[in-house]
């Protein structure tokens, strides 16, 4: 089966576009190249919307944009309807063609941003043997699509390249189990037959309970415990899945963070160093201030040294001459002479006494004011002189301390600079996100492991209770002769359920083995390292193992190219096992691969295109010179996607392969 034509009308950026996909003799590879944001992925969305009615590959930004083309909205008049149509023509072999048309009608109102959906239709057109056109609508058309590629299977045909990268990284066993269950189509057994049998069994048990109060009591307790057990089992499954996802996420983030410095720890250290630097700068400023004050203080002492020294000498001399401290108040004597009267006893001075006072006055060289001043000067001047002795030591100490702080600050700055150098080139935000993600999953893992342990204990205890109640219930049933027939029916149902479970197990196992064998064949055929791998194994617990030629399991250590190829091989194996023959459409098929693997992968895709239609949506950087060297010689169609100048419509430029 292959897609011959896709026609768009007013679908997002595709205003009026028709893409014809012709097949070349050897390869059926169709290439679309468009930069991010142009609308490449909307080819994938358009196919899904046309065939299944949804758009599963949306970016967050696109979700807010209406499906109706923006230019069509602009041109529409108030209250007028506009149709969005995607039409896919498929060649299903034997000259049979199906055309699927999905149409949605929107009404545009002036002043409202989003047009309102009025209704939608889905139809399929095909020709019968006589050449008549058969038109199937809605559910019938849906059934026809389901027959070509069922909705459950489409994820294995139309997907994003990222899926290949993640397939065997996150919840591997869960992914494989899900895929095997889908392919096995065991839904019929599990959901229809199994559920019906359980329901009948429950009804029969209810019937028995009516016959005896004892049976009713035990049956009711048993039913309650079984319900409880079912819920606990579901919880255990959920926790197991969450644990697996967390483990994969932790490993994935650790891979990404390998070789990258621990940004958070470095930033913490950087902040600490900055604080330390600030503290040291404050201390340095304080010390500098101290030195300034010291210099300021010494300035007056040194520059006035000769005055200080001279005054001290004079004071000392006066002391030696016993002029200091003064024994007689000079001013008092002067006052007595002046008044010719004794200021102390009040008697007038005789000539003889006056002469004596005058003689005394001539002997006193210093007045009490001067003596007092000199005495007051003495101590401060001596202190200043003493300070001079410490000048050199004090200055040296302060200078050394200042230099130490400068050295410390320099050292902190060097450390900060080293950290800055380490951090250059890393996107803080990205790394932080990985670290946060890893921490979140480490917490989740720990919590979920605790919860799993708790629920496993509850399960064990419930199972014992259920076993015990079942024994009691059966014992009571044996005692009750009236319900022999019901018991036979119950036995039958139980046996039938056993058969269903065993059949389910056998089908799942066979499907698993078949997929394993196909994956193995495809992978070993496509892999570029022909002598490295021995086989691919899908274990009974649905874990996938890639076995090295030397015999050891090596999936965890292979490069992204090999891992993506294994995922692609697995998907191709699922396709082949499912017996659906549909085109494979991969969006950004090599974006997560290294240069070397991109070339190898391009060769693989070319190989696949020799067997089935392969539609590849590349970004220009993905479609590098080396990739184009592989695909340019063989492609059937190559389109370049560009936005028109109004940025609301896309135009396709076909590059002919001559």
């Amino acid at each position: 089966m292959r897609i011959k034509r896709i026609k768009f009308k007013n679908y997002r950026q595709y205003r009026n576009v028709e893409i014809i996909l012709k097949k070349k003799a050897d390869n059926d590879v169709n290439i679309f190249i468009g930069r991010n944001g142009v609308g490449k992925t909307n080819i994938l969305n358009a196919m899904n919307w046309c065939l299944y009615g949804d758009e599963p590959h949306f970016s967050k930004e696109s979700q807010r944009i209406p499906m109706l083309n923006l230019e069509a909205i602009n041109e529409a008049k108030d209250g007028k309807d506009q149709d969005v149509v995607v039409e896919i023509e498929m060649d299903v072999g034997n000259s049979r063609t199906y055309t699927f048309i999905r149409k949605a009608t929107y009404r545009v109102y002036e002043g409202e941003i989003l047009p309102k959906l009025q209704g939608s239709t889905f139809q399929s057109l095909n020709n019968d043997e006589k050449g008549n056109t058969i038109n199937n609508q809605d559910e019938d058309a849906k059934e026809i699509v389901g027959g070509l590629v069922s909705q459950e299977m489409r994820e294995f045909f139309f997907f994003d390249g990222e899926r290949l990268d993640n397939y065997f990284k996150i919840a591997t066993a869960q992914n494989i189990m899900h895929a095997v269950f889908v392919i096995s189509q065991i839904d019929l057994l599990r959901n229809r037959i199994g559920k019906n049998l359980n329901s009948i069994l429950k009804d029969l048990r209810n019937d028995t309970r009516k016959e005896s109060p004892k049976i009713d009591e035990i049956g009711s307790a048993l039913e309650g415990k079984e319900d409880e057990l079912g819920k606990v089992k579901q919880k255990i499954e959920d926790y197991k899945r969450q644990i697996e996802i967390s483990k994969e996420e932790i490993s994935d983030c650790s891979d990404k963070l390998r070789g990258i410095p621990d940004i958070e720890a470095l930033e913490e250290e950087r902040n600490m160093l900055k604080q330390e630097r600030k503290h040291k700068k404050d201390l340095l400023d304080k010390k500098k201030k101290e030195k300034q004050d010291c210099l300021f203080e010494y300035q007056k002492i040194f520059m006035l040294y000769s005055a200080i020294d001279k005054s001290i000498l004079i004071i000392n001399q006066k002391k030696r001459d016993k002029e200091l401290p003064p024994t007689i108040d000079k001013s008092l004597l002067e006052e007595i002479v002046k008044n010719k009267n004794c200021s102390i006893c009040g008697t007038p001075l005789s000539v003889e006494k006056e002469k004596r006072v005058r003689d005394l006055l001539s002997e006193i060289k210093l007045s009490s004011v001067i003596s007092e001043a000199l005495l007051k000067m003495e101590n401060p001047l001596l202190t200043f002189k003493d300070k001079i002795q410490n000048f050199s030591k004090k200055m040296n100490n302060l200078t050394d301390e200042i230099n130490d702080y400068i050295k410390n600050i320099d050292s902190s700055e060097q450390k900060i600079s080293k950290i800055d150098k380490k951090l250059i080139g890393y996107s803080d935000e990205k790394i932080r996100t990985w670290q946060e993600q890893r921490r979140k999953h480490e917490d989740l893992l720990s919590d979920n492991q605790k919860m799993l342990g708790k629920y496993e204990m509850i399960e064990e205890s419930l199972r014992k209770e259920v076993d015990e109640l079942t024994k009691q219930y059966e014992l009571e049933l044996k005692k009750e002769t009236k319900i022999g027939f019901i018991k036979k029916q119950m036995d039958f149902c139980s046996k039938a359920l056993d058969v269903v479970n065993k059949t389910e197990e056998v089908i799942v196992n066979e499907t698993r083995k078949q997929i394993q064998s196909e994956t193995n064949n495809i992978f070993l055929h496509l892999i570029w390292k022909k002598n490295t791998f021995r086989e691919v194994k899908i274990e009974s617990d649905f874990n996938i193992n890639l076995i090295h030629k030397m015999g050891y399991e090596c999936l965890g250590t292979v490069g992204s190219g090999e891992r993506e190829l294994l995922a692609l091989s697995f998907i191709l194996a699922l396709q082949s096992t499912s017996n659906f023959s549909a085109p494979i459409l991969i969006d950004t098929p090599v974006s997560r691969l290294s240069f070397e693997h991109r070339v190898n992968f391009a060769k693989v895709l070319l190989d696949i295109s020799s067997r089935q239609q392969t539609i590849l949506l590349f970004t220009p950087s993905e479609y590098s010179e080396e990739v184009s060297k592989v695909l340019d010689l063989k492609y059937s169609n190559k389109y370049i996607l560009k936005l028109k100048s109004n940025e609301k419509e896309i135009e396709l430029e076909e590059v002919l392969n001559v």
Partner: protein, 138 residues
């Protein structure tokens, strides 16, 4: 005993020159982000000129700070300058004369300081060198 003047003066023109001391952190006035008082700046200028041996009479007196702000150690220095300058302790009996001497040195000092050619910010280094030189001589 002569009367003690209640203030110490500078020349009216010196106010502007004292503002130049604010350019250096070491001598900056406390209201301009520094820690030094008017009295400290005055003594600084007085000491500077005394060391050089230059004093200048004041043309127009302008009160700069109050006498009561002087501490004993400030007085000791001002008295010592007066004693040294007059080569006599008798001057200490005349506080007007003592302060006049101090004011004349400070007047000369502030003119010298304001006109020095040391780039702003380097005065501290120069002062340290100068003081070390004096210390060696002492």
């Amino acid at each position: 005993m002569s009367e003690i003047p209640d203030r110490l003066n500078i020349d009216k023109k010196d106010r502007e020159l004292y503002n130049k001391l604010d350019l250096e952190e070491i001598t900056r006035f406390k209201d301009k982000g520094g820690t030094k008082t008017r009295k400290e700046q005055f003594i600084f200028a007085m000491a500077y000129a005394f060391n050089i041996g230059k004093k200048m009479p004041i043309d127009a007196f302008d009160g700069y700070f109050l006498e009561k702000d002087l501490h004993d150690d400030d007085r000791a220095l001002i008295y010592a300058v007066a004693v040294y300058d007059t080569k006599s302790v008798e001057v200490l009996a005349d506080m007007k004369a003592v302060f006049k001497i101090a004011e004349e040195y400070a007047h000369a000092g502030i003119i010298l300081l304001a006109n020095n050619k040391i780039p702003i910010g380097l005065y501290e280094i120069e002062l340290e060198k100068e003081l070390s030189g004096i210390f060696k001589k002492i």
